[in-house]
């Protein structure tokens, strides 16, 4: 009883280290340090590096795919606008061509019409000439016949006859004008 109460006087000082524990503590700690440093830390670091790489790789792939898609979209847009321009150009060409054709046809038709008109004029002129010529000879003959019947004498001299007729007709034409 008394001993246990006064044991305080014999209490060990808890701040004094034990040699055995110091040695074991150092050895055990260094042992653990070597194991963790050589095996555990490199493996965890490897996992971290690979994970970072995997995530970054995935992001890069996604980025690349997006770029590819954008490029394709731009290309399609390009092609589409080219096609539109082409169509526009074709329409324009067709319109121009159509106008040209119509113009050409119109000119041709006018030329044809002019040609027909000219031909008609020419044939009318020639027929009139013919008519005038035949009329002149017929009228001359008639007039001479009539005059010879009236005058009673035959104007046998051919040259004189025609001179008389011509003079008459010229007078006639002059008076008509």
């Amino acid at each position: 009883m008394e001993n246990s109460l006064y044991a305080a006087a014999e209490k060990v000082n808890p701040l004094v280290p034990h040699t055995a524990e110091l040695i074991v503590g150092a050895v055990a700690f260094l042992l653990l340090f070597l194991v963790l440093r050589s095996r555990v830390v490199p493996m965890f670091e490897k996992a971290f590096t690979e994970r970072t790489a995997a995530i970054q790789g995935g992001m890069e792939r996604a980025e690349k795919a997006q770029l590819e898609a954008q490029r394709a979209l731009a290309q399609y847009n390009d092609q589409l606008s080219t096609a539109r321009e082409e169509a526009q150009k074709m329409r324009e060409d067709a319109r121009v061509q159509g106008t040209a054709i119509v113009e050409e046809l119109r000119v041709k038709a006018q030329e044809e019409a002019a040609r027909i008109t000219a031909a008609a004029h020419a044939s009318i002129e020639s027929e009139r000439q013919q008519a005038v010529t035949s009329l002149r000879s017929e009228v001359g003959a008639l007039a001479v016949e009539l005059a010879s019947k009236i005058v009673g004498e035959a104007l046998d001299d051919q040259a004189r006859q025609s001179r008389i007729v011509d003079r008459f007709l010229d007078d006639l034409e002059k008076s008509k004008k």
Partner: protein
């Protein structure tokens, strides 16, 4: 004094737990290397090694639950204690900090693990050893980085201080770096574990003793046990916190030694 401990009506008095309770006999054989604390230290080395070897064995990109558990502890030490405090050179010190944290934490938690129930760090020798390692590491790092002359000069003559102040400041700084730091580092850990274990002993042995007493005392004893259980949870918190603080301070000392000015 004597009547204070005479709790039971008859029979023997209560012997309060003391530092003698930390002096354990060899578990087997008859030498200083088979005591409980020493066996526990070896057990901690085996447990920590096996756990981290198993959890890091595959090092898969998509971790298993075990790997995730190991990685969580590792990345906590690596990022929160290493990278955020030491800076860009931190990777050199991660193995040391990691070992320190897991070693101290495991040995602390032994204090509340059923059947083991002894915080190894309440034996002052182990915190001493760890503090000496940290002491050597951070001074070595500082001398390697800045050269011994500049390192000591920076410690003794803090720049930007009026000259007369050095009379006061130089001894203080020297004592801080070479005496106070290792001592506080080891004693803080030791004292917390020592006091925590003592506290649990008081409540649990006290509860046991009360139960042997008269009826009135028997009724009180469950409260003592309940308090002991509550304190066990509290101890768990202290044990984790002390492991964290020890590692944190080590990281801070290393960071200070690496920095150009203290």
């Amino acid at each position: 004094m004597r009547s204070l401990f005479r709790l039971s009506g008859e029979g023997e008095g209560f012997v309060p737990p003391s530092s003698n309770d930390f002096e354990l006999p060899p578990v087997f054989g008859d030498n200083a290397f088979t005591t409980k604390p020493i066996l526990l230290v070896f057990l901690s080395v085996i447990l920590v090694s096996v756990f981290f070897l198993l959890s890091s064995r595959k090092a898969a990109v998509v971790p298993s639950k075990l790997q995730f558990a190991g990685e969580s502890i590792y990345s906590f030490v690596r990022n929160d204690l290493g990278r955020d405090i030491i800076g860009h050179e931190f990777m050199r010190f991660v193995p040391y900090l990691f070992t320190l944290f897991t070693f101290v934490l495991t040995n602390n938690i032994f204090g509340i693990v059923p059947f083991l129930q002894f915080p190894t760090m309440s034996r002052v020798s182990f915190p001493y050893v760890l503090a000496v390692f940290t002491f050597v590491v951070f001074h070595y790092v500082g001398i390697r980085k800045q050269g011994i002359v500049k390192y000591l000069k920076d410690i003794m003559f803090m720049p930007g201080v009026p000259k007369p102040v050095y009379i006061l400041l130089t001894p203080i700084e020297l004592a801080t770096f070479f005496l106070v730091r290792p001592l506080t580092l080891s004693l803080r850990l030791f004292a917390n574990m020592f006091a925590g274990h003592l506290l649990l002993l008081v409540f649990i042995l006290g509860g046991e003793h009360l139960f042997q007493g008269v009826l009135g005392l028997k009724l009180i004893s469950p409260f003592a046990f309940a308090f002991g259980i509550g304190l066990t949870f509290f101890e768990f918190m202290v044990q984790c916190l002390q492991a964290y603080i020890f590692t944190l301070l080590t990281a801070l000392y290393i960071a200070g030694a690496l920095a150009d000015e203290h």
